[in-house]
């Protein structure tokens, strides 16, 4: 397996007086898909921001272990919920963005062509983001992330802005892309079906302040999984039982606010 081991030690975080994360400790093994689930507002995205160095935690530390491949240009790479594509660049231009000033023009073109093919976007290379559907835009987001050959992918609810059908289709593609790339992947979602479909380690966070409530391991390869597999359905049901009361309480808090 390639990829980094990502280690979180006693992570806490607060926005002024509001504690959102409390004493989070976990390890994502190289090549493993770790899924973070929990009710709205439990600090999943905040934790992902801390993991990738985009947020400074109030307490604790994040470290990585392992060797990064020579051609890796950005070891910890995000895939964003809102795609974060530049509307003034074509699909190929968006994918090339993180490669600029790091690779020669030819090497850049080769790598862009490679990830376009991997994500089925070759014929859309010259399209503008506004011309693409939500699902296609997120494919571009994935292609851009893969173009830097990451050692760890950090995916923040990458399918939540999409309709249910597109989500199901992309989920299948994600699982095969992630399995092929073999990178460590941290996947944040509130969708439990996605969690059991992709996760090898599922970390359940409690409602605010987010604490680790349970860790579930699924020792089956991602490839070949279906969200309708009986064992996965049972795990999904267990996860829902764990989260349901917290999710309802979080929803009430949001209404009160």
């Amino acid at each position: 397996m390639t990829g980094l081991r990502l280690i979180l030690n006693n992570i806490s975080h607060a926005y002024r007086d509001l504690t959102v994360l409390d004493d989070i400790g976990l390890t994502a093994e190289p090549g493993e898909v770790l899924v973070l689930v929990g009710p709205s507002g439990c600090g999943k995205s905040t934790l992902l921001g801390i993991m990738g160095g985009m947020l400074r935690p109030s307490g604790g530390n994040v470290s990585v272990q392992g060797n990064v491949a020579e051609d890796c240009l950005n070891p910890l790479t995000y895939v964003f919920q809102d795609f974060s594509l530049l509307p003034w660049r074509t699909v190929a231009g968006n994918i090339a963005l993180p490669l600029e000033a790091r690779l020669s023009r030819q090497a850049r073109a080769e790598r862009v062509a490679e990830v376009l093919a991997l994500t089925g976007l070759t014929e859309f290379a010259k399209a503008w983001p506004k011309q693409l559907s939500g699902g296609m835009r997120q494919r571009v987001g994935i292609a851009r992330a893969l173009a830097v050959r990451p050692a760890c992918l950090l995916m923040d609810e990458p399918l939540s802005a999409l309709d249910a059908q597109t989500r199901d289709l992309l989920l299948d593609e994600f699982s095969s892309i992630i399995a092929r790339a073999g990178t460590t992947t941290i996947y944040v979602t509130h969708n439990l079906s996605e969690a059991v479909r992709l996760g090898q380690q599922i970390v359940v966070l409690s409602r605010r302040p987010g604490r680790i409530r349970a860790t579930i391991r699924i020792d089956r390869p991602i490839a070949g999984r279906s969200a309708r597999d009986p064992d996965l359905l049972e795990i999904e049901e267990n996860l829902w039982r764990m989260i349901r009361d917290d999710a309802a309480a979080a929803e009430r808090e949001r209404v009160d606010a």
Partner: protein, 260 residues
């Protein structure tokens, strides 16, 4: 008997019509000419379009129009470019760095409302009666709206895009070049529309105060002589200049913002 559902979604979707625009202008000019020919409009107060066109023709063939126009275009070009370059630079600084944001915006807020024409005498004292004072007036008038438009444009670049750039390890320079500037460009170009109009107004004002050549000086001189044909010919030239500049900015927007 079921009642048909009445359509209620009409209107509130205005659309441009180039023929209507051209037809309106041509219709007004025709009415004006008819009014003058019929004697309803006295030509000493408002000469007919044909007289203005004739005056323009004479100015063109005699070379006088180009003499004044070239002087004006030079001032306009230098003053606008100077004000724009400094304004965009300062606007970017305001939009990007907290340390500069409040100090610069305090100065801009204090100086922006001053009518720049009132500063022409001061600029004449500082830079002399020659080109310096006129160009400084234009640059000063262009600078402040450009700072405000650019800073607003930078503020409106989605922070998510900048975080994306940071997450990929782009340098500050690369983020400014590839994310901030293109993201702020629509606002900067909208600012150009405003600043070019301001620049033309200030150009005429500055040339009326202290110049021998230039469209402003020509219009003032024609007015002093009650030469309304030439006076209005000068005004037509200014109007056409404004139209050409607006067209040029439109082309620039089309070329640079085709992705919208």
């Amino acid at each position: 008997m079921p009642d048909p559902v009445r359509f209620r979604g009409r209107g509130f979707a205005p659309q441009d019509n180039a023929w209507a625009s051209a037809g309106t202008l041509l219709g007004l000019i025709a009415l004006w000419q008819i009014g003058a020919s019929a004697g309803w409009i006295k030509s000493v107060f408002l000469p007919p379009p044909v007289a203005i066109a004739t005056a323009l023709w004479h100015l063109t063939v005699s070379g006088e129009l180009w003499k004044h126009l070239s002087a004006s275009l030079l001032r306009l070009g230098i003053g606008w470019v100077a004000g724009t370059v400094f304004g965009v630079g300062m606007g970017l600084a305001v939009g990007l760095w907290s340390a500069l944001r409040s100090p610069i915006m305090a100065v801009v807020a204090a100086l922006f409302p001053i009518p720049k024409i009132a500063l022409v005498p001061l600029f004449i004292i500082w830079f002399g009666i020659g080109e310096g004072s006129k160009i400084a007036t234009l640059a000063f008038g262009v600078f402040f709206p450009t700072v405000i438009a650019t800073a607003g444009g930078v503020d409106n670049v989605p922070r998510g895009l900048i975080r994306m750039g940071q997450s990929f390890g782009l340098s500050t320079g690369a983020i400014v070049r590839t994310l901030v500037l293109p993201g702020a460009l629509p606002a900067i170009l909208s600012g150009f529309r405003v600043t070019t109009s301001i620049a033309i107004v200030l150009l005429v004002a500055a040339e009326m105060i202290g110049a021998e050549q230039g469209i402003g000086a020509f219009v003032l001189s024609a007015g002093n002589l009650y030469d309304t044909d030439n006076l209005l010919a000068g005004i037509v030239v200014l109007s056409v200049l404004g139209l050409i500049v607006a067209w040029g900015i439109g082309r620039l927007e089309k070329a640079l913002l085709g992705w919208r």
